[in-house]
């Protein structure tokens, strides 16, 4: 497994025209054609966003976009994420040819495109041992956005001669602010384990789009080999129609092997491994259960989890997403008892409502579980959902005592959350309903 330096994630470029704060930098190498490709990672500090963008070992340090358009500057594999609070920020990530460094987002409220922000760009060398192609990434973060508001945007850039090359116009909507809109509903799609099944993944993203989620949580194993750029290309190309309009963050899966391809192509909060955020009434925690150092499971990740859930005690809903399943009737992997010992007790302590994972390529919903006791109603414990059917070859299931429903099928899960009620529906890849449940709480 590639060892990684815990320099983290992304840079935000908030030099928007108008009301947005201006960006400044304290670092950044020249990414021009003549510069040597130094892939030691790096950091770019942004004023106004409240977080840094950091690239890891294997990628260049992020540098502000310039005015160079290469031979093929048209953006492709555009997708959304976020590095800050999703109520007030949004990140765009896209690719171009290697020479293009122009990195600009035009955006505005509603259908307007009256603001502009400059992003950062960096390269990395893909493949096992860095033996593959060099990839150019463009990444921009918009900060200071208005919560619960629809924006339009284009990505691309302007060359030194004034030539413009921008994408088609897409839209996104920021998350509602829990204080200002305490009763707002959010819809979240959970899906994972697409690896090797990108035709199915493409179909699923179309089906998910018809449910119009506000957020997508990917539960890991997007690709079979984390260093395979070809697989990542399939993943992002097949999902682009959806992912250009709905932000997606991911839990790291064991097949991602902490590869630079994973961290460089996704924009996520914190250190991009163990992080959390509020999305309307939802407090969402995401954990890496395949860290470079397995000691992190009982150390860094568990400490983060404990502190995060303690601070989120008053959140209307608490969901944790990770790759491996604490409870699973999948015949391939089954329940991960190590994680149950390390993290299950924390979920029980802070009354986590739902844990969504993957790893086993099945769909499963458990009965509510607390400790080793299987309950009858949601008040009796946490419901564990295995949503590992995004395209990978399916595994078998052998329902256990804790199983409410399990099926070996490609699927995705849509959860609608508002204070007082969580409603979950899961669908097969043919669109047929697979499972549903509701949880209500007194408000």
């Amino acid at each position: 497994m590639r060892s990684t330096i815990p320099v983290a994630f992304l840079l935000s470029s908030c030099a928007a025209l108008g009301a947005l704060p201006a960006c400044g930098s304290d670092a950044g190498d020249d990414t021009g054609d003549d510069a040597p490709l130094v892939t030691d990672g790096g950091r770019f500090t942004i004023d106004g966003c409240g977080f840094d963008v950091v690239t890891r070992l294997g990628a260049e340090a992020p540098a502000p976009g310039a005015d160079v358009l290469g031979a093929a500057p048209d953006p492709f594999q555009l997708h959304l994420g976020f590095g800050g609070a999703p109520a007030t920020s949004m990140a765009m990530v896209w690719r171009t040819d290697l020479d293009t460094t122009a990195t600009t987002v035009r955006f505005g409220v509603g259908t307007a495109l009256d603001q502009e922000a400059t992003g950062v760009t960096y390269r990395y060398i893909s493949g096992l041992g860095g033996a593959g192609d060099t990839i150019r990434i463009h990444e921009a973060h918009l900060c200071g956005l208005t919560p619960d508001t629809t924006y339009s945007y284009q990505v691309g850039g302007v060359g030194a001669d004034g030539t413009e090359r921008f994408s088609a116009t897409h839209t996104f909507r920021t998350a509602p602010d829990r204080v200002a809109s305490p009763d707002a509903e959010v819809v979240v799609a959970f899906v994972g384990d697409s690896r090797g099944g990108y035709d199915v993944w493409g179909n699923l993203t179309q089906a998910i789009a018809a449910r119009s989620p506000d957020l997508i949580i990917f539960t890991g194993d997007a690709v079979t080999i984390g260093q395979s750029q070809e697989e990542w290309d399939d993943f992002f190309t097949q999902g682009e129609d959806l992912l250009a309009s709905v932000p997606m963050v991911a839990a790291h899966g064991n097949h991602e092997v902490n590869a630079i391809e994973y961290y460089a192509q996704l924009a996520m909060p914190g250190d991009e491994e163990d992080y959390a955020f509020d999305f309307g009434p939802l407090h969402q925690t995401v954990l890496n259960d395949s860290p470079a150092s397995s000691g992190d499971l009982a150390g860094k990740a568990k400490s983060f989890l404990d502190a995060d859930l303690a601070a989120a005690a008053d959140a209307p809903w608490k969901i944790v997403s990770q790759h491996r399943s604490l409870w699973s009737s999948g015949t391939r992997h089954g329940s991960d008892t190590t994680l149950r010992q390390e993290w299950g007790v924390v979920y029980d302590q802070y009354l986590v409502d739902v844990v969504v994972s993957g790893h086993d390529h099945i769909f499963e919903r458990t009965k509510p579980i607390r400790g080793e006791t299987i309950g009858a109603t949601p008040a009796d414990g946490t419901i564990y959902v295995v949503s590992g059917g995004a395209g990978a070859d399916l595994y078998g299931t052998e329902p256990q005592a804790f199983t409410e429903y399990a099926e070996s099928t490609h699927s995705y899960t849509i959860m609608s959350l508002r204070p007082g009620m969580l409603s979950s529906q899961s669908f097969r890849d043919d669109g047929s309903p697979l499972d549903e449940f509701q949880i209500t709480k007194p408000q």
Binding site: T171, A210, S212, T331, G396, R428, P433
Partner: protein, 392 residues
């Protein structure tokens, strides 16, 4: 106006009245409380009353902060009830009356999806509602064969229904899942025969190929897959490459599996024949083979310990270990007893020992192969070799 539509309207009016009177919240006139009361009805599974109650919230204060959410929830509930006409009407209201709301984006997506299901003029409304009702009746059902039959009848009666292609695939998938392989293949063939050209045809063909592969009809699966090349994009062709690899692998494994069973059968015959020869007759041979040899008492505790250790880990591994141990016990017993029989009769010769050794090796290899092939444990082993141990 159709009688069914008039009936729906009357029911809706009655439900609204019922909701206002019967499901009224404790604090009348408080839209938040009314909304939460409707939510409770929803959670309790009283969908008719919940929809009426949500609509009542929107009607009571159409400019209030709860109106768009209430209409959206009413539309959601209508979809769950399978009332696509009501769902379409309610989503349309969200789009038209609350275009700037959070729900409008979702409403547009749902509206487009529903209109695609029922046709531009709503001509497929009743069929689509029956389709939805059948699918919903299959949720959580361990044997959805009756629903598959009902849907097959519906599609047969309405072959031009826009969602017929996906319905036929659902029928095939469902029948395959419950082990009705031949009927599943018939459903897939029906899907292929009726699928419009393009993506639907490719999906139907791929599903048929996958079904044939599951059924062990490798030549037919390969033929179907090869016929799909060029009908989709580059990714589709790559998926076919993978499918053909699967066919080749499955064919190879099937042949090796047959060889393993053949080796086991031959091994039993050889041991029986050698015992007959050593004992001088069938009865004496059976008596000799029925006596546990000394080796068995060494192997048995080892088998128990290994079996117990395996039982604490992965269930696929446990199952394989169990079968390997059982095969080992049988092999040990038969070969050991056969050799003991020959020794007692003074007929222990090198060729006989070599024959027993060959049988034991073939039996162990065959049992081992069959055990790791079961439940595709071999794939997990291959994955572990390729990607390393998971470290848990």
């Amino acid at each position: 106006m159709r009688a069914a539509t008039i009936g729906r309207i009357l029911v809706a009016v009655a439900l609204v009245a019922l909701a206002v009177v019967g499901a009224a919240p404790a604090r009348a006139g408080d839209p938040a409380a009314d909304f939460r009361a409707a939510t409770r009805l929803y959670a309790d599974g009283d969908l008719d009353a919940a929809q009426a109650a949500f609509e009542a919230v929107a009607a009571a204060d159409p400019r209030g902060p709860w109106a768009d959410d209430a209409l959206s929830e009413a539309a959601n509930v209508a979809e769950k009830r399978g009332d696509l006409d009501a769902a379409r009407r309610l989503w349309r209201r969200v789009v038209d009356e609350y275009p700037q709301s959070r729900q409008s984006r979702r409403a547009r997506a749902r509206l487009a999806a529903i209109e695609a299901e029922i046709g531009a003029g709503g001509q497929w409304l009743e069929v689509a509602e029956q389709h939805e009702a059948i699918l919903r009746a299959a949720i959580g059902v361990s044997d959805p064969t009756p629903q598959a039959r009902a849907l097959a009848a519906l599609v047969a009666a309405h072959p031009d229904y826009p969602r017929a292609p996906e319905a036929r695939l659902w029928i095939g998938d469902t029948l395959l899942r419950v082990g009705e392989v031949d009927r599943a293949l018939a459903a897939y063939r029906d899907a292929v025969a009726h699928a419009p050209a393009g993506d639907a045809a490719w999906r139907a063909g791929k599903a048929l190929g996958d079904g044939l592969l599951v059924a062990g009809r490798f030549d037919d699966a390969e033929h179907v897959y090869r016929g799909l090349y060029g009908q989709g994009d580059a990714l589709a062709d790559r998926a076919l490459d993978g499918a053909l690899d699967d066919v080749a692998r499955a064919r190879r494994r099937h042949r090796l599996g047959l060889a393993a069973w053949l080796a086991l059968g031959l091994g039993v015959l050889v041991v029986a024949g050698l015992a007959w020869r050593s004992a001088g007759g069938p009865i004496a041979a059976l008596r000799g083979l029925a006596r546990p040899p000394l080796e068995l008492w060494y192997f048995l505790p080892v088998a128990v310990v290994l079996g117990a250790v395996a039982a604490s880990g992965n269930q696929l591994v446990e199952r394989a270990v169990r079968w390997i141990l059982l095969g080992g016990l049988v092999t040990t017993w038969l070969c050991g007893a056969g050799l003991e029989l020959a020794r007692r009769r003074g007929r222990l010769r090198l060729p006989l020992v070599a024959a027993h050794l060959a049988v034991a090796i073939a039996a162990v290899a065959s049992v081992g192969y069959l055990a790791v092939m079961h439940d595709r444990l071999i794939d997990m082993i291959a994955e572990t070799i390729a990607h390393g141990h998971e470290g848990r």
